[in-house]
Amino acid sequence: MLYALKIATRYLTASRAQTALLVFGVAIGVFIFIFMSALIGGLAEFIMMRTAGDMAHITIQAEAVDPALLNPAALGTVLLVQEPSTKATAILKDTSAFIPLIEGLPGVKGISQQINGTGFLTRGGQVTQVSINGLEPGHESVIANLASYVTEGTANLGAGGVLLGKTLVEDMDLTLGQTVRLQSSSGVVAVLTITGIYEMGSGGPDRRQAYVSLATARTLFKLPQGVTRVEIKLDDLYAADALAPQIKALTGLDAKSWTEQAAQLLDALKAQAQTGYILKAFALLTIVIGVASALLLSTYRRRPEIGIMRAMGAGRWFVMVVFVAQGALIGLMGGLFGAAAGYGVLLAFPSRDSFGPGQSGLPIDIRQGAYGLAIWLTTLGAILASILPARAAARLDPVTAIGQ
């Protein structure tokens, strides 16, 4: 084996220009593989950060209380229409009992207790319907990274403060520090000061959301205790499907993974990933064809030498190993050079931090270059590609090959 490797190495070094060209070709394929991996992976990361990145990965919401049916049994058949209330009357009580349990689960990054509902924002004669989100002070950025979206003021929600989206502020011609009236669907009115203006870059949140402190929300929705919703952020958002049932089993509450609400997003990401696989498969195929054809030519060129080796007592297996080893070495060298070139080129692109809001640049993630996989697959592909020429070499009739 060692000796076959020596002969393979000698053959490669004897034809330096041809070997260099071959390794260069393989390296190009590996470079494309790595670049595509970083681009497709980065793009997926970018989309996730811009969408699911600001979503709760697991949500616990109090189940809506069905309205009581006034159905006098004696009146015979009655047509009933049941309409769920839009008021956030369903609450999660005793959060202190289950929050510590959830916090103790591995992979839980943060928990946000919220009171959500709807209301109207009024300034002078202007009235706009808004979604009101009551967040715990100090926990404003646990789910959506509000702090990073704030363009004016602060994300910290104090008593009497409200955080509004930029579009809403522009539509109502508001400025930081002004006071506005916020009336909840429960009819309670609060006069609040605009302490921060944010821009998420998305029409809905920027136009329709108003963030207040949990204390303010309690007043607005007349909820002296409990919350309407608990949102959980995980270290790995893809762990949500596994963790949600655990939380449900642990607390008895209806914990839902974000994927239940984002099937289309997941489908899009899968389609994108599949496109990436196809492109990478083509890159690998190019490598395999290149190595196979080059080694077939080498086999033809070295026919007399193969015949001599066979005459001197080299078995078919030995000849096969010589040619397979050449394929493996070409694949390994091309893989290493391609991976190094790929890493070097990717370094020139902006880092992953540029995926954040307000920053531009190609969403290439250098960490997702799949360097090891590229080297491994290339070496494996080159070995597989060399089997056909190696078999052809091993089956050569030594007498014919020597030409004596």
């Binding site: 015949g307 030594p398 020597i402 004596q404």
Partner: protein
């Protein structure tokens, strides 16, 4: 002397149907250990085919082939490869060295391919052989830088590397000038005398044949003299 090899009723045909060519037509031949024999005959008489079959590079169409008491007629490719490596050496007309390797690496090949690596013992034996062939200054030379005569002496050294019982040489001097041819033949004769290695040398050259103690003449696929 003891019996080294024997072929009986050896027939070899190439092609089939109307294109069939019968090269050997029931050839019988026996050789003893330590012989130095020349294989003579006109072109197309079957000399190369005999060497190829005796060298276990080809099966006969029919007949029997034994060497060192072993029946090689129907042995597997693997068994023949191993047998060839241990017991038979080859010297070809055009030396047929591995061009990307040095003289020493070429000589060591038959041992290295068996042992899986070039051992120190193999290198020592290879160097001794090259010194004996008068190539002490060319041991680490790439074979591409050697003259025709030097290449053929490297080929002889390679054939002797595994101390084979039989060396088959197909026109070993056919591509050399007279001086180089005599030098190669002197070396062959010396090794035959000193180590008892059996040589069967195919040649057209009667002067070369005259240096051998036995002349085997083939014609029309049979031994005629």
């Amino acid at each position: 002397m003891t019996a080294l090899l024997e072929v009986r009723d050896l027939v070899k045909t190439f092609g089939s149907g109307e294109a069939e060519t019968r090269v050997l037509r029931g050839l019988n031949l026996a050789m003893q250990t330590g012989e130095l024999a020349a294989l003579l005959g006109p072109s197309g008489s079957g000399k190369s085919t005999i060497l190829t079959i005796l060298g276990t590079l080809m099966h006969p169409t029919s007949g029997s082939h034994t060497m060192l008491g072993l029946d090689l007629t129907t042995a597997s490719d693997r068994a023949l490869t191993e047998f060839r490596n241990l017991h038979i050496g080859f010297v070809f007309q055009f030396h047929n060295l591995l061009p990307d390797f040095t003289a020493l690496e070429n000589v060591c090949f038959p041992t290295a391919v068996r042992e899986g690596r070039e051992t120190a013992a193999a290198r020592l034996r290879g160097e001794e052989l090259l010194v004996r062939m008068g190539l002490s200054e060319r041991i680490h030379f790439p074979t591409a830088n050697l003259s025709g005569g030097q290449k053929q002496r490297v080929a002889v050294a390679r054939a002797l590397m595994n101390r084979p019982e039989l060396v088959l040489a197909d026109e070993p001097t056919g591509n050399l000038d007279r001086a180089s041819a005599l030098q190669v033949m002197d070396l062959i004769g010396e090794i035959n005398r000193e180590e008892g290695t059996t040589f069967l040398i195919s040649t057209h050259d009667e002067k070369i044949a005259a240096q051998c103690r036995r002349q085997i003449v083939v014609g029309d696929g049979l031994v005629t003299g």
